[in-house]
Amino acid sequence: MPQVELKRVTMRYGKLRAVDEVDLTIADGEYVTILGPSGCGKTTLIRIIAGILEPTEGEVWIGGREMRGVPIEDRDVGYVFQNIALFPHLDVEDNVSYGPRVKDLPREEQVQVAKRYLELVKLLDKMEMFPSELCGGEQQKASLARALATGAKLLLLDEPLSALDARVRADLRYELRRIVKALGLTTVHVTHDQEEAMSVSDRIMVMRAGGVVETGTPEQLYTQPKDIFTANFVGETNLLEGWVRGRAEGKSLIELRDGSTVEVTECGHKEGDAVVISVRPEFVFPFTDGLPSRVQYVTYMGTYWRVVAQSRSEDRVEFDVPAAEGKLYHQGQEVYLTVNRKAAVVYPRPLEGIAEAVKLE
């Protein structure tokens, strides 16, 4: 039952806290992604789980056992590296059967196990080739097979797709989840790519500067993020500055900098509070009436057009229009924008300012 539990895990390098009191519980068979920008501590955290690093403080529990002092090779964890790390002097089959070989299984069984997992990742025909003869996607698949062949029930993926082309990434993403779920493994996946995180995970933990921002399902984080950083990091969003002006029948009225008002679902803030409205581009619509804005430029996105406008309230607002209508919008044009009331989320105005609060680097 490889359940993973992290209790107040901290990693300090001198004064720097690379990981700051992180708590996390992962249920058996769950696929959890740790998502965050570079330097947020996600790689440090996954290396702590694997035993590559020993935390300064805190406890790591895997399968009901505390892992302090337990060396890497005894933790029974499969690890896939960002830079793949296939052994260059061994062919694919020898790479994949390394785990069984280390356990001193009979040679025929070693080969059997290797073949089973290579078939799973659809690389059986490349068994005799060497890593240098494979392309990026194939190498990563072989690396996955190798980690799986140890029979470990916990799989750790350290930015497994970052080194691959966009196209290959998209294809491999779906494969990854399919295989892992078919085998019933618990998975911890680390990445900076929010689209990747959302498409493969049961749950996502968002990290920033060593600490946890929030945890939730992909849908929760996308539609109802609790923190303004998450709102901006997981998917794109428009951020409008304003103040609460009134409340009536399940709606709140927010006044923006130029006096325009936006209606949102009841947000729980008091009148006069300084707030920020977060609303995603797909929930902003040009209408006959609404927030006056001027189009800055229009970009073709293939199946839709992205229009970037500057509102009279000095907020940058982006919205999408279907491909057919795109040509209607041009630079300098005036539009009126309304917002889907239910899709907007309201946050208290961050003390350090919006730019600081959502900063990505």
Binding site: F81, Y98, G99, R107
Partner: protein
């Protein structure tokens, strides 16, 4: 700065660059390679002489083969021991973090600072059974066999070579492979055995070759050690035999064919053996697929690794360091038999310094460009060939090199004075030039060419790109190469004596003192030489460390 612009413009033109390159390669071939192997041609021109004087003299042939056999056996054993003991040390230095690591790092290079003639004396009075007037109460004096004594001596100065080579390779192997192995369930020992060691193989060849060749070459220390224990007529290595024959050939020119013969055999065997070794190491299959999980895990944890590390340090101290510096105790306990001729020693020091200085400057001026050409010309035939050729003077035993070079330039005639010093310089250039080239080539290869390329697209001419972008990064390696060349030249005995018998270098001075049984003066001279060389070594470490920290 008009002329500087014009000069930059001129040397950036393609024709000039091609001409300069041609000159560099010409220098390399004519001043380094050809003189080194010239003696081989003697086999064709004077085969008759060789046949009559040497091949038909069974007693002499016996002596020759025994000497050569001794040399190769010693080199083989030394290399093997160095590998077995150097490997754990290299691992400690590269993969582990502990207090005092920098200190350990510095001490390992210490024997390199000691000129081998001095080392020979120091090791002999520590290990060997010496005549009564030499016996030091602190020495172990347990080794009676000259064979064993020389082995112990050679280990002292080849150990740093091996450790450094192994460390360099280990640093280049990505630690991620080892981590990956461990996540797959392998203990540290299993990972080292099945993953690191096979990846090692390519670079291992270089380490073995350098170590082997260094032992094969060594003359000064061996001569001194054998003389000190009184075995110089009983036991010969190929270099000491050549040394003796060369000395005798000044009065008896009929010995020249024999001299050439020994040199030729030595060179041919060395090159052949090393080629074979290279092939074996590259192809050899480590057939042990089997893994014993439990015993290997036990050996990877707790007491076993600590014992391994401890014994590595013990070995370093007793077999390498203490013998190196034992000479200091001698000076403190013994009494001088004659007053030290400081005047002559001063002259010898000056001579050595001038030679080393000029040699280093030439190595810099003409070696760095060749290194750049080789490093940036990978995958083209000429640079690859030059890369292989550069190693030849390192493999050829320096005493044979010296003789061959003497044969090339002055037909083996004894020379003196100005011509003598020039010859000595040419000989020293031959075996220090590769050191410089290898050091710089290694450094340049580690620098991504993208930096210079970016500089060129920003408008920099090649020489500007070198000066502003590449040079700052490799300057410490250039310095390291220079200091290596300098100290190597300072400490060399064999080649010097082979090309100009009476050359007044400091090591030669020491050897002469020992052969005249004036041990106390020899020891004093050794100490002065050690202190000076060591000061240079420290400077090198400091510079390189400073650069690495930046």
């Amino acid at each position: 700065m008009r002329w500087l612009e014009k000069a930059t413009e001129l040397i950036s033109r393609r024709r000039f660059r091609k001409g300069w390159l041609a000159f560099i390669i010409f220098f390399f071939l004519v001043f380094v390679i050809i003189p080194t192997v010239f003696v081989l041609s003697y086999a064709f021109t004077n085969w008759g002489d060789i046949q009559s004087t040497v091949l038909n003299d069974p007693a002499e042939m016996q002596k020759i083969w025994t000497a050569i056999g001794n040399s190769f056996e010693i080199a083989g054993i030394v290399t093997l021991v160095d590998f077995l003991v150097g490997m754990p040390m290299a691992w400690m230095l590269v993969r582990k973090k502990f207090r005092g690591k920098e200190f350990l790092d510095t001490i390992i290079d210490m024997p390199l600072a000691v000129p081998t003639a001095a080392l020979g004396f120091s090791a002999a009075i520590f290990w060997g059974i010496t005549p009564a007037d030499l016996t030091n109460p602190l020495g172990l004096n347990i080794i009676g066999s000259p064979f064993l004594l020389i082995i112990l001596l050679h280990i002292v100065f080849s150990y740093p070579y091996m450790v450094r080579s192994l460390s360099a390779i280990l640093e280049q192997i990505d630690e991620t492979y080892e981590t990956a192995g461990r996540t797959l369930g392998a203990s540290k020992l299993t990972v080292a055995r099945t993953i690191t060691l096979p990846l090692f193989r390519a670079g291992l060849v270089t380490g073995i070759i350098l170590c082997f060749a260094r032992s094969l070459s060594e003359t000064g220390g061996t001569v001194v050690a054998l003389t000190t224990v009184g075995a110089q007529k009983l036991f010969y290595t190929a270099p000491t035999l050549i040394d003796e024959v060369k000395k005798n050939s000044i009065t008896n020119p009929a010995l020249i064919p024999e001299l050439s013969f020994i040199s030729i055999i030595l060179i041919v065997l060395a090159l052949a053996l090393l080629a074979v070794m290279a092939i074996i190491v590259k192809r050899a299959h480590l057939p042990i697929r089997k893994i014993w999980p439990r015993p290997e895990k036990i050996l990877s944890r707790g007491l076993a690794p600590k014992a391994k590390d401890f014994s590595s340090i013990l070995f370093l101290s007793f077999i390498v360091l203490i013998p190196s510096f034992f000479i200091f105790t001698y000076v403190l306990t013994a009494t001088p038999s004659q007053p030290m001729n400081w005047g002559m020693f001063g002259e010898a020091l000056l001579y050595s310094f001038i030679v080393a200085g000029v040699v280093t400057v030439i190595d810099l001026a003409l070696g760095v460009p060749l290194a750049l050409y080789i490093a940036r010309g990978r995958s083209k035939r000429l640079p690859e060939t030059l890369d292989i050729l550069v190693n030849v003077p390192l493999i050829v035993p320096t005493v044979a090199l010296g003789y061959s070079l003497g044969l090339f330039w002055v037909g083996g005639q004894p020379v003196n004075g100005a011509v003598g010093i020039v010859l000595v310089m040419l000989a020293h250039i031959a075996f220090t030039y590769p050191l410089m080239v290898r050091s710089v080539t290694g450094a340049v290869e580690e620098v991504d060419p993208v930096y210079e390329e970016t500089a060129r697209t920003l408008g920099a001419k090649p020489v500007q790109a070198f000066r502003r972008v590449l040079y700052p990064v490799i300057s410490s390696s250039i310095l390291a190469g220079a200091i290596m060349a300098f100290t190597r030249s300072l400490g060399e005995t064999g080649a010097t004596r082979a090309v100009v018998e009476g050359a007044n270098t400091a090591p030669n001075f020491i050897v002469n003192l020992v052969q005249a049984h004036d041990y106390y003066s020899a020891a004093l001279a050794c100490i002065v030489l050690i202190v000076i060389s060591y000061a240079f070594m420290l400077a090198l470490r400091y510079m390189v460390r400073k650069r690495r920290r930046d």
